[in-house]
Amino acid sequence: MAQFYDLCVRSPFSGGQSSLAEIVKAGEKFGFSGICIVDNFRDLAGLGELKAAVEKARAGTKLDIAIGAEIRVDSVQELKKVVEQVRERVEVLIVSGGDYNINRAACEDSRVDILLHPEAGRIDSGLDETCAEAAQKNSVAMGFSFKELLNSFRKQRAKILESIGTNAQLLEKTKGLGVAVSSASSVWEMREPRQLASVLTALGFELSAALRMVSENPVWILEKNRKVLAGKRITEGVEIVG
């Protein structure tokens, strides 16, 4: 049976409106195998608080709860600095896109797991073929955020859908990795995996490809990072077995 993961649910420690217990309950109800609680990275102390809270939440559930960090920066130098600081401490590293230079730097950095909403606040889609090829080469997943759609209306939503459609075409051409996430700040913004996949299907993805974005791809990212953090994965194709 397929395992479904939502790799971006915002924690109550960084602007989220629901408690961890509520998030876990909603995750179980929607049929997820696991979720990733994401911290808007400010400092290491904030990340420590989240880790302690997640450890407590893990005790009472079968849901696989991962810890992630979302990085929002204004310059490429800052991005590199923060990635260096955080990479060894979280299971999923997400870069919030928008600025072209940051989008491209994220695509070119293999330590980044997901580039989220590269089209945010832009007229264009925020990516070109160079970026998409770099992302494919470095196994950086293109993140489609459902929250951006949910909280936009009419013209703005149409623009976002158009940009996502363009990025979807780039993704298909380069055969890169894609991930669909809710980016929910509260349980009311969380959606079941099948609905996340349906939105992508409506934008032109094959249903099987859309379903991979909520099941196989997130599982692969999480497993890869857990092996790296445990010291079992040296580099691409080199792992310590047993």
């Binding site: 609905q195 349906s198 939105v199 409506a202």
Partner: protein
């Protein structure tokens, strides 16, 4: 002699089955954060669908919300659409997140080809046929208790 009602307006004949769109019924479940009137919910769902698919897309998808199937206790209802538009309707329902000030989520529980099937599968409704399979077993148990082994063979 009783008065017969006046002859109703003539209707066109139904399209032949090959020309008719194939229908699907989506059973949806509503999770809500407060009290919501059904008519408000209905409007919110229509707004969500029209907003996401547009007027043309909604027309092509052949969407209709079946008011009479709404179950207040289970908070479930049925939406009719074409068999080719199921994914689009599912996506459109996912963008419904508010009825007035009350947060809501609309989840698709499943898809069926008939209203009867959808009600059986997702609303837990049962008819007499649902009990048909269990009857012989019950008889067998009773007869076994009363008459012993001899009568067991007569059942088959």
């Amino acid at each position: 002699m009783a008065d017969f009602p006046e002859k109703t307006e003539p209707r066109p004949n139904r399209l032949s089955p090959t020309l008719r769109d194939k229908k699907r019924y989506l059973a949806f479940y509503v999770e809500r954060g407060g009290d919501v009137q059904f008519m408000d919910l209905l409007n919110a769902i229509w707004q969500g669908i029209l907003g996401f698919l547009g007027e043309l897309g909604t027309a092509k998808a052949g969407i209709w919300i079946l008011k009479t199937t709404w179950d207040e206790q289970r908070r479930m209802g049925l939406i009719k659409c074409n068999n080719t538009s199921v994914e689009e309707v599912r996506a459109a329902l996912s963008v419904v997140n508010r009825v007035g000030d009350v947060p809501v989520t609309v989840t698709v529980v499943g898809v069926s080809g008939t209203i009867k099937g959808a009600k059986k599968k997702f609303f837990g409704e049962r008819d007499l046929m649902s009990f048909a399979g269990t009857a012989p077993v019950q008889t067998a148990e009773i007869e076994e208790e009363e008459g012993g082994e001899e009568e067991e063979g007569e059942l088959f």
